[in-house]
């Protein structure tokens, strides 16, 4: 790939989903060519596409994989990302776009707020948020858009809780995070979010609360952490944790309603939910591609990735690798699949994964417990999909 020859004959990324709960069919065709294979990006540049499970694990654990988005060969999985390279949004640079040793330091700053014990403390609050949303839906029904009325607000409220956004500001903060979903508003929304978070952190220096930001304000006051960097942390948690979680919950609901035999197993034995969440994570994996650039020659199988080559990891494809999973294209809530790659692998594996697991489990288990007669209010074919770096349903009309 170091020779820049004609890429026009190569398969092109991004690919789009035909069915909301299956990866693009093209991922399977790519893996049939090879678990690591050359493709062309929308802008014509060549890049490696990784769809093999073993190969994804091996490459994402390599110390020679960089997330430096300023490298000229750094991949651009979807065209919309170009606008986020705007100088007005420098804050997305933290954590998901830094390499060691900077990344190690940043991750260590945030890690104490994401321990399993901290998540266990948050769980009752998440349950309360979910019950309140379900009360509201039941009062409003019997037909609602589950995205607008349940998944989006519930996840935003958990985020407010996690970060320690004061009650008086929550509506404003949550609205800012929603505006981020709109491609026409995303750059402005990120800029406004940055301003709001900076102002909130200054307020917290004199009026502390009990969220993640409060834990870290102490470090700012002690001179161990820069306030601007803390703003970046908050922003990256919003970016990485909100849309992914909300979309996965909504898509899980659709998927279970379309697999009534699997849903029946869960209604019959709710203790299966944590296992089912893992399988739904494997099956649905809504990320459109993790980007890396190689910083040394790397041998994988009989291929050599050259220093400076770009790579895009198509983890929804790797989660369907038949070399790793039996009947990979079947949803089976009884199987144990903790080795899916939905949260990535290597040092950048999702820092919020155990929070996401709790959010998914609580939101799904309680929804079906309180509304067991839940059904789609429109045929699946009519439910609008949102393709992109994070796949999702634009709405999910349900009834009971």
């Amino acid at each position: 790939m170091n020779e820049d020859n004609d890429t026009s004959a190569l398969p092109e990324l991004p690919m789009t989903r035909e069915c909301p709960y299956h990866p693009p069919a093209g991922y399977e065709q790519l893996r049939a060519i090879g678990p690591v294979t050359r493709v062309r990006q929308f802008d014509g540049r060549p890049v490696w596409a990784v769809t093999g499970h073993l190969e994804t694990r091996e490459l994402l654990s390599s110390p020679h994989m960089s997330v430096n988005r300023f490298h000229p060969n750094f991949p651009m999985p979807i065209p919309a990302l170009t606008q986020l390279q705007s100088p007005r949004t420098p804050a997305i640079g933290a954590l998901i776009r830094t390499d060691p040793p900077e990344h190690t330091r940043q991750r260590r700053d945030i890690l104490p707020s994401f321990t399993l014990k901290k998540i266990a403390v948050l769980k009752p609050r998440i349950e309360q948020i979910v019950e309140d949303r379900l009360d509201a839906i039941l009062a409003k029904g019997p037909t609602v858009d589950l995205v607008e009325e349940y998944t989006k607000p519930a996840v935003a409220m958990v985020l407010s809780q996690l970060l320690g956004v004061p009650f008086a500001d929550r509506e404003y903060f949550e609205d800012l995070t929603y505006r981020r979903f709109d491609p026409a508003q995303v750059v402005d929304a990120l800029s406004d979010l940055t301003d709001y978070l900076a102002q909130l952190l200054r307020a917290k220096e004199t009026e502390p609360g009990d969220g993640l930001l409060d834990d870290l304000v102490g470090k700012v006051l002690a001179g161990e952490l820069d306030r601007d960097e803390l703003v970046k942390y908050a922003l990256v948690l919003v970016i990485a944790g909100q849309e992914t979680t909300a979309n996965t919950i909504a898509l899980s609901v659709l998927t279970l309603l379309e697999h009534p035999d699997q849903l029946a197993l869960l209604l019959d034995d709710p203790s299966l939910w944590p296992n089912a969440v893992e399988e739904l994570l494997r099956f649905l994996a809504i990320t459109g591609g993790l980007s890396r650039v190689a910083t040394a020659d790397i041998t994988i199988g009989d291929l050599t990735i050259r220093d400076g080559d770009g790579l895009i990891f198509l983890n929804p494809g790797a989660n369907r690798d038949e070399a790793q999973f039996d009947r990979p294209n079947e949803l089976d809530v009884r199987r144990t699949v903790r080795n899916h790659l939905t949260f990535g692998f290597g040092i950048h594996q999702c820092i919020g994964q155990n929070l996401a697991r709790v959010e998914l489990e609580v939101a799904l288990r309680r929804l079906f417990a309180r509304i067991p007669a839940l059904a789609l209010a429109a045929p699946m074919e009519q439910i609008p999909m949102r393709q992109g770096l994070v796949f999702g349903l634009a709405e999910l009309p349900v009834t009971w």
Binding site: F114, L116, N339, F343, Q349, I351, N354
Partner: protein, 71 residues
């Protein structure tokens, strides 16, 4: 000492990225410190833990978990 093999788990806190997979896999053996990185709770465990330790090592995204054996 009998001939029973003992397994010695280890968790490298400098490599650890706090994913928590080891704690979820073998909570009697691994825990997280307040800073979020791995701590090993059991100096050694018996052979019955072999599969769990192997699973924890396999699932760790940062290759921070391993085990040795002595019998």
């Amino acid at each position: 000492m009998s001939g029973a093999r003992r397994l010695v788990p280890s968790g490298d806190a400098t490599r650890c990225v706090g994913a928590g997979q080891c704690v979820l896999t073998a909570p009697e053996v691994f825990d997280q410190d307040d800073d979020g990185t791995v701590v090993v709770l059991a100096e050694e465990v018996d052979e019955s833990y072999r599969a769990l330790l192997a699973e924890a090592a396999y699932l760790c995204p940062a290759s921070a978990i391993s085990f040795a054996e002595h019998g």
